[in-house]
């Protein structure tokens, strides 16, 4: 056991590092701050999916649909598309609530399905949402179809605009740096919520359902409500992340919500360790930095070896995702940082 003293010191050190990080990154280039922001967004998504996949054991392959719901809610309510410009603190909760509603919509008919069927149905659900986003431009132009929605408002509180460059207390804050702090605050809140959830009555009910649904219901757990809650909560985190994505990007289109994105988030959860919050965070960080790592290693390497790009980096990225899923399942089924219970379950040892 660590002494509390050392624990506090460690936390303070990590906290200071996280606070100073954007300025260090900005020194290397604003692009790096953006990359860090996306990594945090992926952590948010992975944590939301972890509730469904890791805690409750329901494999959801259409998770990106909830991200899309959140993103489109924000985009439609704060852009020139409908000429609506609601403030973000109004829209983000609406987006999260709508995503939760979609989670219930998906969860309700699929409650009785076994794991593998559920995976396919969720996949189909994700595709349906994307097909609708793509086609709801006629007869009434709701989503602007494949062209997407542009000119989305950034977060704004009175005069404080998250997209603008500003000097505060002698420090220079660029747009991405401001978003970084906002995202950091949100992700810390979400981590705390997740940690509290895991050991709560609901968290233990989820775990019981994951281990054995029949036994869980015999123990008096209302499996229907508890599963629906998992879907709704997981989805609401996705919706929240989607709203922030929308504001940061200022432009969204159905292209951002394809199946590959869902699978990427699943890979993060699986690689890091289903059910373990720190594992999932590690998985999200690792996989969201893969494209950057490739940019600095594989691209120059190929240039040096062949004089041109033989294999596009995003192909290598997808190959790595696919390989990661296969290899993790074959050799380390509980992930890089396994949760104790999950490890027992996935390695097939008697509990």
């Amino acid at each position: 056991m660590k002494t509390p003293h050392r624990l506090w010191l460690g936390t303070a050190l990590i906290g200071l590092t996280l606070l100073a990080l954007p300025f260090a990154l900005a020194y290397a280039g604003t692009a790096w701050v953006r990359i860090a922001n996306f990594a945090i967004l992926y952590i948010l998504l992975a944590l939301g999916l972890n509730i469904v996949v890791g805690f409750a054991g329901l494999l959801d392959l259409g998770y990106i649909a909830f991200y899309a719901v959140g993103a489109y809610t924000y985009a439609l309510l704060a852009s020139p598309h409908f000429n609506l410009h609601l403030p973000f603190w109004v829209i983000l909760p609406i987006g999260a609530a709508l995503a939760a509603l979609f989670g219930l919509l998906l969860g309700a008919p699929t409650l009785k399905l076994r794991g593998d069927y559920l995976a396919i149905v969720t996949l189909g659900f994700g595709e349906i949402v994307r097909i609708f986003l793509n086609n709801l431009s006629r007869p009434v132009n709701l989503t602007n179809g494949p062209q997407g929605v542009a000119g989305i408002d950034p977060f704004r509180i009175d005069g404080f605009d998250f997209a603008q460059y500003q000097t505060l207390l002698g420090l220079q804050f660029s747009g991405p740096i401001k978003y970084y702090y906002l995202l950091l605050a949100v992700v810390i809140a979400v981590i705390v919520i997740n940690l509290r959830l895991q050991n709560s009555r609901i968290g233990r009910a989820w775990e019981a359902i994951r281990e054995d649904e029949i036994a869980a219901s015999a123990m008096g757990i209302n499996t229907r409500n508890v599963k629906l809650l998992a879907f709704a909560m997981g989805a609401s985190f996705g919706g929240l992340a989607g709203g922030m994505f929308s504001a940061m990007q200022a432009f969204i289109s159905p292209e951002s919500f394809v199946l590959v994105e869902s699978i990427m988030v699943v890979s993060m959860v699986v690689l890091g360790g289903m059910g373990n919050i720190w594992g999932v965070i590690l998985g999200a960080l690792l996989l969201s930095f893969v494209p950057e790592i490739l940019r600095w290693t594989v691209e120059p390497l190929q240039d040096a070896l062949f004089g041109r790009q033989l294999i596009a980096p995003e192909v290598i990225r997808m190959l790595i995702f696919g390989l990661a899923l296969v290899l993790v399942m074959l050799f380390r089924p509980a992930g890089l940082l396994p949760s104790a219970v999950r490890k027992r379950e996935l390695t097939g040892q008697a509990a």
Binding site: I120, V121, R138, I263, G322, V326, M329, L346
Partner: protein, 327 residues
């Protein structure tokens, strides 16, 4: 009426291809209860290999039928090899693992195959060369082309052949025994590993032919074609009752029909101006005549709707027997 008959013909053609692909899903599921996510990618690889060969042979002036046959003959062994290797490398080590593990592996395999195919063939669409003269026959108001006839005939032949294999040969008996209880089948002298490998290989061979047919029908093949086709075929397998071979055939044809009729009629059905009481309410918006909510671009939604409806109301499918929760 003409539209109806025409969509019936189109649906039957697409549906028979779905049925052949669905067989690959249902055979594997019946025997080891695994949704082989990567089966759609096997179909894609079949189409891509065949199209490469066909495109290479097209200028030689060989008869079109020979060109297509040679292409298919090249695709089948490659797909069999892919099917065998994925069973051997990715699924067999996980056979006793909890269900989630092989499923996630299958998704990984599917991504791997898709992007390997992209490396080999690039993002570009491979087109079917203009070597076949399309002849149309009129059939009570609908027209059917020789290609459509050939596709339906080949699919029927494949399904008949598979039925013979499963119900009349020793391998088929071993497959059915393994599906019922692998452990006991092993005790009775069935080499379970070999039978499972054979199931994957046969499914992959069927998939290869289906890929060629599908590609020929639509005239194009691309590295992404496997995922949506695979999903539809899986829906078909579930509709018929997964694990049930006649079910997959029935489900495939039905799904093809639902999709074709759905795409043919959804525009008319969701035209709000066609309904008087809504048209009154809509007022001048109907002056141009139509206010179509959903057009045929929603065609891909039908397969998923069918899937969800079947799973909610009759999870065992049309021909499947009710099985207890084996999770």
């Amino acid at each position: 009426m003409d539209t109806f008959l025409q969509q019936l013909v189109n649906g039957l053609t697409a549906g028979s291809v779905y049925a052949v692909v669905a067989l690959g899903y249902t055979m594997v599921y019946g025997i080891i209860q695994l949704i082989n996510f990567a089966h759609g990618e096997v179909v894609m690889i079949g189409a891509m290999v065949a199209f490469t060969v066909i495109n290479a042979l097209a200028p030689t002036g060989l008869p079109p039928l020979a060109v297509v046959l040679v292409g298919t003959a090249c695709a089948i062994p490659i797909c069999m090899l892919v099917g065998y290797s994925m069973e051997r490398l990715a699924y067999r080590p996980l056979r006793s693992a909890p269900r989630l593990a092989p499923l996630i592996t299958a998704i990984g395999v599917s991504i791997l195959l898709q992007h390997l195919a992209m490396l080999v063939w690039s993002r570009n669409v491979l087109a079917f060369p203009q070597i076949i003269d399309n002849t149309s026959y009129t059939l009570g108001g609908a027209s059917i082309t020789n290609v459509q006839l050939a596709i339906i005939a080949v699919c029927v032949a494949l399904m008949g052949g598979l039925a013979l294999l499963v119900y009349r040969t020793q391998l088929g008996t071993a497959m059915r025994a393994t599906a019922q209880n692998p452990h006991v089948a092993g005790l009775m002298g069935v080499d379970v590993n070999r039978v499972i490998a054979a199931t994957f290989v046969i499914g992959a061979a069927l998939g290869a032919v289906a890929g060629v047919l599908y590609g020929t029908y639509y005239g194009v093949a691309q590295y992404t074609m496997g995922s949506i086709l695979g999903l539809k075929a899986f829906s078909a397998a579930v509709l018929g009752g997964i694990g049930n071979i006649p079910g997959a055939m029935l489900g495939g044809v039905l799904l093809g029909l639902v999709e074709a009729l759905g795409a043919g009629y959804i525009g008319d059905l969701s035209d709000l101006c066609a309904y008087d009481w809504i048209a009154d309410f809509m007022g001048e918006q109907c002056d141009s005549g139509h206010f179509i909510l959903f057009g045929s671009n929603y065609q891909d939604v039908f397969a998923f709707l069918v899937l969800i409806l079947v799973l909610v109301f009759r999870p065992s499918g049309l021909l499947g027997e009710r099985v207890g929760d084996r999770a």
